[in-house]
Every structure is written in structure tokens, then in C-alpha cells.
């Protein structure tokens, strides 16, 4: 068993440990959660250390027997794209767990176990090279998230959890049919065998592509199948929101790049202009709707619709610059929006409200939180020098080269992002410090600051030195695009 499988299994081991000691004190639960998640992070770094950047394809493959009769295996491997997202996942989990130490008062062990199980499933999604395994993990990741929202969420948690579950489950079921069809054609679920060995005629490709697209578009979420996200975000506990925005949404964009593009190249090329259009609409629509939200979590949720639109835009530009930057932007969105949800959570714990109008003049009272909030907002609105820009700009630049109208229209998303983020910041942090509640709001604690620090450092570091990240994902993206181009050319 190599480091990759270890990275998938470690969180499960942690979850089992927590399950074996039901009466454990919160202190011990916290320690186990933190140690296990840090060990998982270390394990994923070990994968990175052994990663050959010169090799664009899948590497560090590990495979175990699962259901031999149908050719399904438990098979893992990584390329640069999946490794980047695995690192994002393992990086965020310890942060989420530590951030939840005080906010989760009820059944902390179950909460921690749910997150560790979720982590294992998501890492598996990014690492799986067997289509059935991928599908199972993709759908099963819904369960712990459903529980996290449904048990530890806000007042409307059950309705939001149900909507989240049904919405995304139904999207996935259609994909299952498509995967089964692929298996009947090839006798295997092996990703590489199907990708390299199967030549489908364009009509069939179109249907299968549509099935995969539906599953992934719901997950991203792409306009117009996005309405589960604002509800889920609003009702999820802080950790749930961070993980949902930070990692779960990326399963959708990852799926597009890993499966929809290479498996159905003709359909991809045919659908690309339409998807560019849908992405642009989503970017502007999400931003416009974000503008008039009165609940800060809903605002950030709609900003995610807008920002993930940039990722889909870059992906379907099918351009080396734009598509690689789209992957980088997945990581960036995870860091920026994750950080923003953390700060919202910290504020919520102090005030138990998410209404923007309930705050005012906080910058004088909580300068550290205000400074970090502004920094994270600037990262999210893609200010050069911070991480968001190094993703967003090449996406737009590359897209413009392919489709000028799409590039120009999407660029206006940058104006709207500045508008809704700075306006929200102004309403909450600027102005006179008048209310008693605002005057009594304490600034970040050391623990909260410690949780924010790694995120903030990465936000700045990627903004100024994005090279290593681009080097990691670039060759793999180039390879995917080359496969698409090769399949379509003759």
C-alpha cells in the first residue's frame, strides 16, 4: 500500500477510532481529529514528494480487487489536477476541524467522524481511476454532508439538507446509467481502458456527455441548476460551508475535466460554445443576484455560483492557458471562499445573525477580523497580487483568444464582484460603531487567528508565486486537451 491509498484510508481509520470510543471527552475527540487530519495532510504531501512532474498522465497507481465479475476495482492514481485538489482537501480539513472546536457543542465525536469520512470519500473521488468506484464515492460523499447540514445546521437545516441531497443525488443517477452503458460496451470500469479503447459515435457521445454534464453541473453548481447551493450554504454549520465551497463543488469541475472531456471529445468540442455561454450567464447572473442578498452567507453562496462559472468557462475554453488556470482557480476558490465562510462563522458565533444589516462599523471594534475579511474579499474579487487574480486573468485571457464575446462579458464579472464584496464589507465594517451589540463584539481569538493564518499565507503566496501550482497542474491539463484535440482532429 502506497501513500496514495494511505491518504484515502487514514481519515477512515480516524473515524473508526472515534466510533469505538463513544463516550470520549471532547478534548480527546479534538486531539484525535486534529492528529488524524494532520497525518492525512502529511500523507498527501508524501504523495506530492513522490510525484513526477515530468509525467503528465496518471501515476502512483494502486489497484485492489473489488467486483471481479464486472471488472470493477478499487483503483487509485493521481495526475497533477487530482493531486492539487487532494492537497486542497487535506489542507482544509484540519482547519475546518479546529475552527469547529467551539461552535459545535453537540455530538462532537460524530461531527468529527462525519468530516473524516467525508474527507476519505472526497480524496477517493479525486484519486479513483475506476468509474464505478468514482460513482460510488461521488454519491456517497452526499451522505456525511447531508448529516452535517441536517444535524448541526441552522434553523431550516432539514429542508436545506433534503434539497441538497435529492438535487445532487438525482443529478448523479443519470450519470450512473451512462457509466453502466460504458461498462456494457467495454466489459470494464477501468478509466484508462475506456478512455483509450472506446470509440463512440458522436450521437452516443452526445447522450453520455449530457448525462455526465448533468451530474457535474449540479455539483459545480452551474446556472441554472444552482438553487440548492444558497440554501445548503445558509443552513450548513461553518465547517460544512467551508468544506462544501472549498472542496465539494470542485468534484463537479474536476469531473468535467477528468471524465466529460477525455471520454467524449467530439461532444465536448460541439458543446463548448454553448457551455461558454452558460458560464458567462452564470458569472453575471450569480454576481447580480449576490448583489441584493441581505444574508451574508447567501451572498457568498451566489458569489460561488459566479466564481465557479469562471472555472467552467476556463475548462470549456479548451485552451492551454485558460483550462490550466481554471484548475488553479478551483484551488483559489477553495481557499478564498473557505476563508470567507470561516470568518462569517466566527462572526456568527459572536452574534448569532447572518443579516448584513445587523452589523455596522465593526472595523473599529474588531480590526484584525476586518483586515482579514478585506484581504479575503480582495482575493475573491481577484485583486492582482493575491491568488484569485492568477487564476481569473489567464482564464479570461485564454477564453478571449477562443471566443472574444465570452472573454469580454465575463470580465464584467470582475466589476460586479468588487461591487458586492466591497459593499457588504462597507455595510458591516465601515460607518459609525453605534449598536451595543457591535461594541461588544470581541476580535478574533488566538485559535481563530491560527486557523486563518495558513489560509491567508497561501492566498498571498499563490498570488505572488503561483509557479509551483501551475507547474503541478499544467502538464496534466495539456495532456487532457491534447487527447481531446487528437480525438477530434481526424
Amino acid at each position: 500500500m502506497g501513500p496514495l491509498t494511505l491518504t484515502v484510508l487514514l481519515p477512515l481509520v480516524g473515524a473508526v477510532l472515534l466510533g469505538l470510543a463513544p463516550g470520549a471527552r471532547d478534548r480527546d475527540v479534538r486531539a484525535v481529529g486534529l492528529i488524524v487530519s494532520l497525518a492525512t495532510f502529511a500523507s498527501s504531501v508524501w504523495v506530492l514528494v513522490g510525484f513526477d512532474r515530468g509525467e503528465a498522465g496518471l501515476q502512483q497507481a494502486e489497484s485492489f480487487t473489488w467486483i471481479p465479475s464486472v471488472g470493477a476495482r478499487v483503483a487509485f492514481a493521481v495526475d497533477g489536477v487530482s493531486l492539487a485538489l487532494i492537497l486542497l482537501t487535506t489542507f482544509l480539513v484540519p482547519i475546518v476541524l479546529v475552527a469547529s472546536w467551539d461552535s459545535v457543542k453537540d455530538r462532537l465525536a460524530a461531527y468529527t467522524a462525519a468530516f473524516l469520512i467525508l474527507e476519505a470519500l472526497v480524496i477517493g473521488v479525486f484519486a479513483a481511476t475506476d468509474l464505478l468506484l468514482f460513482y460510488v464515492l461521488f454519491e456517497f460523499s452526499l451522505v456525511p454532508m447531508y448529516l452535517i447540514i441536517g444535524i448541526w445546521g441552522g434553523a431550516e437545516r432539514r429542508r436545506a439538507a433534503r434539497k441538497f441531497f435529492l438535487y445532487t443525488l438525482l443529478g448523479g443517477l443519470v450519470m450512473l446509467v451512462a457509466i453502466l452503458y460504458l461498462q456494457t460496451r467495454t466489459g470494464t470500469f477501468d478509466y484508462i481502458a475506456i478512455r483509450d479503447g472506446l470509440a463512440l459515435d458522436p450521437t452516443v457521445q452526445g447522450w453520455l456527455f449530457a448525462a455526465f454534464l448533468l451530474a457535474f453541473a449540479v455539483k459545480v453548481p452551474l446556472f441554472p441548476v444552482h438553487t440548492w447551493l444558497p440554501d445548503a450554504h445558509t443552513e450548513a454549520p461553518t465547517g460544512g460551508s467551508v468544506f462544501l465551497a472549498g472542496v465539494l463543488l470542485k468534484m463537479g469541475t474536476f469531473g468535467l475535466l477528468r471524465y466529460a472531456l477525455p471520454l467524449f471529445p467530439d461532444a465536448t468540442v460541439a458543446a463548448a460554445p454553448w457551455l461558454l455561454g452558460v458560464s458567462v450567464v452564470g458569472i453575471l447572473y450569480g454576481a447580480a443576484v449576490a448583489l441584493v442578498q441581505t444574508d451574508i452567507k447567501r451572498l457568498v453562496a451566489y458569489s460561488s455560483v459566479s466564481h465557479m462559472g469562471f472555472v467552467v468557462l476556463g475548462t470549456f475554453a479548451l485552451d492551454r492557458t485558460a483550462t490550466a488556470a481554471a484548475v488553479v482557480q478551483m484551488v483559489n476558490h477553495g481557499l478564498s471562499t473557505g476563508a470567507l465562510f470561516l470568518l462569517i462563522g466566527f462572526l456568527y458565533e459572536r452574534r448569532h445573525t447572518r443579516r448584513i444589516a445587523d452589523f455596522g462599523g465593526l472595523a473599529r471594534q474588531v480590526p484584525v477580523m476586518a483586515g482579514l475579511w478585506l484581504l479575503v474579499s480582495l482575493s475573491s474579487l481577484a485583486l492582482p497580487g493575491l491568488n484569485g487574480f492568477v487564476g481569473e486573468f489567464p482564464i479570461l485571457l485564454g477564453t478571449f483568444g477562443v471566443n472574444r464575446a465570452a472573454g469580454v462579458l465575463a470580465a464584467f464579472g470582475a466589476v460586479l464582484a468588487a461591487l458586492y464584496l466591497l459593499w457588504a464589507y462597507q455595510r458591516m465594517f465601515h460607518g459609525p460603531l453605534e449598536r451595543d451589540e457591535d461594541r461588544a463584539t470581541p476580535d478574533l481569538t488566538r485559535r481563530e487567528l491560527a486557523v486563518m493564518t495558513p489560509l491567508v499565507l497561501l492566498i498571498v503566496l499563490i498570488g505572488l508565486v503561483p509557479g509551483p501550482l501551475f507547474d503541478l497542474v499544467g502538464p496534466s491539463v495539456d495532456r487532457v486537451l491534447a487527447e481531446v484535440a487528437l480525438a477530434v482532429a481526424p
Binding site: V70, R158, K163, T321, L383, F400, A414, H430, F470
Partner: protein, 645 residues
């Protein structure tokens, strides 16, 4: 003949990692470190923060002087290679520096005026609780502006461009407890973002057609651009420049930006940041000369902005608002210059304007300091004896901006108007001349109302001269405003010749003069015009008893009232963008909730019914969730069985 001379002076491109240029990266890095240090340690540093920030600014200035010496000694276009920034796919952009004559001029203005404003702020901000934070932001601005002028490609220029925008946002909203100030900060940022879209699309287009964002490569490729692409490129760059440099139609943020502390108005919103748009257009002048039609658009934007803002300035009653509209107007002259092919004259005016407008704002701050933050021109006056240094230096700046010889502004403005005439832009020349009359008029009105006549300030106010830390920068800028003309006392003077290799030659643009007048005659006309404007204002304000206050304002009528209300442009923008845009956004939000989510809920209704039935079979929440899991597992098991079969 002229062409040959210009070709002979073209710069060689020298890649170097040694000498002053080799360490030029320290010029922005020093204030950047100052920013971080002061920000992190502000509680501990307190008042000492100023020394740290000033040291960083002084270091940047000294290094800039060393770089200037090197470039003057051995003129060339120096490229200092630095590590890559963004390298993905076809895009490859590094942090490399570009140092030529234009860079040197900008470096000296930015760090020179920057240092003076740092020193001035020690006195001005002393009582403020945000003293250390203020100096941190000043250092951040300086670092950003220096990245802007040193970047060797459009993207690093844009990095600086956006970071000066951030500094501006932070400093306009420095006193963020006041809602109006916070709003002004946001307005500045958003208006600039609109321009940024234009700038970004310019970069996309440049990359799509030339395949590079490198300034030298882009400029070298400019002659080969098709007319359509060149025109589009110039107009897109203009869109970005018009926002940053407050030109029509994006000037509206700058007057509001006066909400920031006055040293900020002097440094960022008069002397340096707002000239970034001028810098951008001059820096890409070879692209400009590829489309003379687009250049004419720049010239018209410039002259119309110059006139509009000058008219508005005539009826403003706030000591800083007059200067703000004046800045918009003077920036208009710089755009006029660039548009008529007078790149070097535009840069010359940029330099002299930095001196006298920086001085005017610092003097305004000194006056406000003395009068307990009074900003109403009608509650000033009688300051000549109480504030001799502020008075004398302001007088110099007033004469300089009005265009009175031999002060600095006279030379730079006249050379611009001369070029407009010589290059065949008759209407623009005349409008520019009209603007010059208005400039002399509103500045004289400003000067008279602030300093002369009997005191009109509120009871209990005892004006006093400002401390040395504020007076010294005033004197330095006063000397520069008085003698700045020596940089280029004749049209083809030292600065003109120095900048020659850094801008595009205009010999091939086929300019034909408007008429037979030569430069001495044009200068004569200018002097007559300025005398008229200045004399008229003196006659209207200087001789009148102003003690009654605003009611004796002599400039009246519908046009004057409209000017006072800024021609209702802000109101119109608010109606269209805030009102209209807000309505659209609210409409979309309703659409999202009712239509899109409504469809989903409709589709999900069946599922809910099923869910109810399922729930009846279970009791207790957690068991319900477990049930979902079990059902899911069962489904998968069935699936496995089915496939095995």
C-alpha cells in the same frame, strides 16, 4: 532630417543585473517592507511608525536618484530580469523591470513628492488615532506606484495599477466611521474597476494579436498592427487610463476622493496616482501612433474634460473640491497633449503639475489644520499674516497653475497648446486656451477667498502657521513650482531631449499646423488669455468686500448654478447604475427564487411526498438519516447483483 535625428537617439536595449538598475527592485520592495513592518507592529511602534515609513520612502528616493544618474550617464532602455510571475500555457509574464528615461522621470516624481508628503504627514496626522496605520498605507501606496512605473509588461504594470487603487481605497476611506467617506472609497474602487475591464480587454487583445504583454515587444510590434486592431487597442487602453486619471466619463470618483486625509489628496489624487493613465498612454505611445484616429479621441476626451472640470471648479466652495476639479482639468491637458502627439510635453506637464498641485493640496491642508478643519472657502480669508509660509508658497503655486511666466506651469501648459496648434488641431487649441482662461480665473478666486481680505472664519478660531514638518515640504515644492520651468525652459529643452528616445517619433504622422503663427506669437496669445482670466477674477473677488459670505458670489446664473451642482452628472449616474442596475439585480433575485427554484421545487414535490411516506415509517431524526444511508447502500448492492448477473 528630423526623422534622422530621432532615429539616431533611439535607445539600445540593455539587459543588466548590475549597477543601480540591478538593485532597482529594492525601490518598490523597501516601502513594501515598510508597509508590512508598520502594519504588523503598529501597536508597538506608535509614533515611531512614521520614522520607519519615512526611512523606506527616503531609501526609495535615494535609489531612484542613483538609477537616474545611471540612465542620464548612459542613456538606454535597461531591462532588469527578475523571476517569473505567471507562466501558464502560452502566457509568460515575469517581474522584470523596465528602466528608461520615462521611468526615471516617474521614479523621481513619485519618490520625491512621496517623501515630502510622508514628512508633511508627521505634523498633519499627529493627533490622529490611526497615525501608524496611515503611514503603513502611505508606504503601500508608494510600493504599488513604483511597481506600476517599473513593470516591464502590461500585467506587472496592471499589478501596480490595481494596488495603487487599493491604497487609494484604503486612504479615501481612512476615516471609515463616516458613511460618506466609506462610500467615496467604494465609489473610487468600483469606477476604477470599470476602467480595469477596458484595460484587461486591451491586454487580451494585445495578447491575441501580438502574442505578448511585454511593453517593449508590444511597442516594437505596433507598426505592424492593422488599423482596426490599433484603434481598438488604443481606445481600450484609454478606457483604463480614463478611469485612473479621472477623465470623461469616469472622472466622478476623484472629487469624492477628497474624503481622504489631505496629504493623500496631494500625493495620490493630484501628484502621482492619477497621472498613471497619462503614463500608460505615453508608455505605449508607439501603439498610439499606429492609430491617429484613436489619438484624436484621446485629445478630445482630454480637452473636454479640461473644460468641463474647469467650469465646475469656478463655482465650488470647498477648498479641496476646487483643487479636485482643477486636477481633473489639468489631467485633461495631459491627455490633450498625448492625443495631439505631444507626449513629452504631456510628461513635462505631469511633472510641473505634481509640484504645484501637490503644493496646493498641502497648503490647503495647512489652512484646514489652522482653521480647525474648516473647508468652506467663504469662511477663510485674512490668512496672509497668520500663515506667511503657507501664503507665500501658495501664491507661487497659484501663479504656476494659472500659467503666469516664469513659473513652472506656464512653460508646460504653453508647450502643450503650441503642439495642438502646430499639429493642426485648431478647435482643440481654442478650447484648451479657453480652459486656460478658466484655470487662471478659478485659481485666482480660490487664492483670494482663502488668503486675502479680512478674516471670515468662525469665532474662536485662531489661525497659526503649521509646524516645520509641514512647512518644509511646502517650501521645497514652492521652489520646484517656481523653478520647475528650468527643466524645459524652451520647447526643445533638456527634458524634451532627454525623453526623446523613450517615446514614439511623430515625424511620420503628417501633422500640418493650423496656421502661420509661430511659438512666440502663441505664447503671447496665452499670456493675454491668462491675464484676462486672472484679472477678471481679481476684479470680481479681489476688490470686493467678501465679509457677507457666499451671498456676494458674483458668478451667477443658470450655468453657474449647474456648475455648482456639477451638471447633475453624479445624480444621473446614480439613477442609471444604482437605480437601474439595482432594479435589474432585484428582478433577477426574484426570478431566481420564484422561477428557477420554483421549477425545482415543483419537480421535487413528488419526491417530498415519497419522503413523507418514508418518514412515517421511521421515527426520530437520526434514524431517518441512517435509513437514507441504508437505502442507498441497498441500491448499490442491487446494482452490483444486477451487473454480476
Amino acid at each position: 532630417m528630423l526623422l534622422a535625428a530621432e532615429a539616431a537617439t533611439a535607445n539600445a536595449v540593455v539587459t543588466t543585473t548590475t549597477g543601480a538598475v540591478g538593485i532597482a527592485w529594492l525601490i518598490p520592495v523597501l516601502p513594501a517592507l515598510g508597509f508590512l513592518a508598520v502594519l504588523v507592529a503598529q501597536r508597538w511602534l506608535r509614533a515611531r511608525a512614521a520614522y520607519l515609513a519615512i526611512a523606506a520612502a527616503a531609501g526609495a528616493f535615494l535609489l531612484s536618484a542613483a538609477v537616474a544618474r545611471e540612465v542620464i550617464g548612459a542613456p538606454a532602455t535597461y531591462v532588469r530580469p527578475l523571476p517569473d510571475w505567471i507562466e501558464v500555457g502560452a502566457l509568460s509574464v515575469g517581474f522584470d523591470l523596465l528602466v528608461d528615461q520615462l521611468t526615471v522621470v516617474m521614479l523621481l516624481v513619485v519618490t520625491g513628492v512621496g517623501l515630502l508628503v510622508h514628512v508633511y504627514s508627521v505634523g498633519y496626522m499627529l493627533e490622529d488615532r490611526g497615525f501608524a496605520r496611515f503611514f503603513a498605507y502611505l508606504n503601500l501606496f508608494l510600493a504599488s506606484m513604483l511597481v506600476l512605473v517599473l513593470g516591464s509588461n502590461l500585467l506587472t504594470l496592471f499589478l501596480g495599477w490595481e494596488l495603487v487603487g487599493l491604497s487609494s481605497y484604503l486612504l479615501i476611506g481612512f476615516w471609515f466611521e463616516k458613511r460618506a467617506y466609506a462610500t467615496a472609497a467604494k465609489k473610487a474602487f468600483i469606477t476604477n474597476r470599470v476602467g480595469d475591464v477596458s484595460f484587461m480587454v486591451a491586454m487580451f487583445l494585445a495578447f491575441a494579436t501580438v502574442g505578448t504583454l511585454d511593453l517593449l515587444e508590444l511597442n516594437a510590434a505596433a507598426p505592424g498592427l492593422s488599423a482596426g486592431v490599433a484603434t481598438a487597442l488604443v481606445l481600450l487602453l484609454l478606457g483604463g487610463a480614463a478611469a485612473k486619471s479621472a477623465q470623461i466619463p469616469l472622472y466622478v470618483w476623484l472629487p469624492d476622493a477628497m474624503a481622504g486625509p489631505t496629504p493623500v489628496s496631494a500625493l495620490i489624487h493630484a501628484a502621482t496616482m492619477v497621472t498613471a493613465g497619462v503614463y500608460l498612454t505615453v508608455r505605449t505611445s508607439p501603439v498610439l501612433t499606429a492609430s491617429i484616429d484613436a489619438m484624436e479621441v484621446i485629445a478630445w476626451i482630454g480637452v473636454l474634460t479640461a473644460l468641463l472640470a474647469a467650469v465646475i471648479a469656478v463655482r465650488q466652495d470647498d477648498i479641496k473640491k476646487v483643487l479636485a476639479y482643477s486636477t481633473v482639468s489639468q489631467l485633461g491637458y495631459m491627455f490633450l497633449a498625448v492625443g495631439v502627439g505631444a507626449f513629452r510635453e504631456g510628461v513635462f506637464h505631469l511633472v510641473t503639475h505634481a509640484f504645484f498641485k501637490g503644493l496646493l493640496f498641502l497648503a490647503a491642508g495647512s489652512v484646514m489644520h489652522a482653521l480647525h478643519d474648516e473647508t468652506d472657502l467663504w469662511r477663510m480669508g485674512g490668512l496672509r499674516r497668520a500663515m506667511p509660509v503657507t501664503f507665500a508658497t501658495s501664491a507661487v503655486a497659484w501663479l504656476a497653475i494659472s500659467g503666469v511666466p516664469p513659473f513652472a506651469g506656464f512653460f508646460s501648459k504653453d508647450q502643450i497648446l503650441t503642439e495642438a496648434y502646430k499639429h493642426g488641431y485648431g478647435a482643440i487649441y481654442l478650447l484648451g486656451l479657453a480652459g486656460a482662461i478658466l484655470t487662471a480665473f478659478y485659481m485666482t478666486r480660490w487664492f483670494v477667498l482663502v488668503f486675502l481680505g479680512p478674516a471670515r472664519h468662525r469665532d474662536g478660531v485662531h489661525p497659526h502657521e503649521s509646524p516645520a514638518s509641514m512647512a518644509v515640504p511646502l517650501v521645497v515644492l514652492g521652489l520646484l513650482s517656481a523653478g520647475g520651468g528650468l527643466l524645459n525652459p524652451v520647447h526643445e529643452g533638456p527634458l524634451y531631449r532627454f525623453l526623446g528616445p523613450a517615446v514614439a517619433p511623430i515625424g511620420e504622422l503628417g501633422y500640418v499646423p493650423v496656421g502661420p503663427l509661430e511659438e512666440p506669437a502663441l505664447i503671447g496669445i496665452s499670456i493675454v488669455a491668462v491675464t484676462f482670466g486672472l484679472g477678471l477674477a481679481w476684479w470680481l473677488y479681489g476688490r470686493r468686500d467678501l465679509t457677507a459670505g457666499r451671498v456676494v458670489e458674483p458668478v451667477r446664473g443658470t450655468l453657474a448654478d449647474l456648475a455648482e451642482r456639477r451638471f447633475l452628472v453624479d445624480e444621473a449616474y446614480a439613477a442609471v447604475f444604482v437605480g437601474g442596475g439595482g432594479a435589474v439585480a432585484r428582478g433577477l433575485a426574484r426570478f431566481d427564487g420564484r422561477v428557477i427554484d420554483g421549477l425545482v421545487r415543483g419537480a421535487g414535490a413528488t419526491a417530498v411526498v415519497v419522503g413523507r411516506v418514508a418518514r412515517r415509517a421511521q421515527s426520530g431524526r437520526v434514524r431517518g438519516y441512517v435509513a437514507v444511508t441504508v437505502v442507498g447502500l441497498a441500491l448499490l448492492l442491487l446494482l452490483a447483483l444486477w451487473t454480476v448477473r
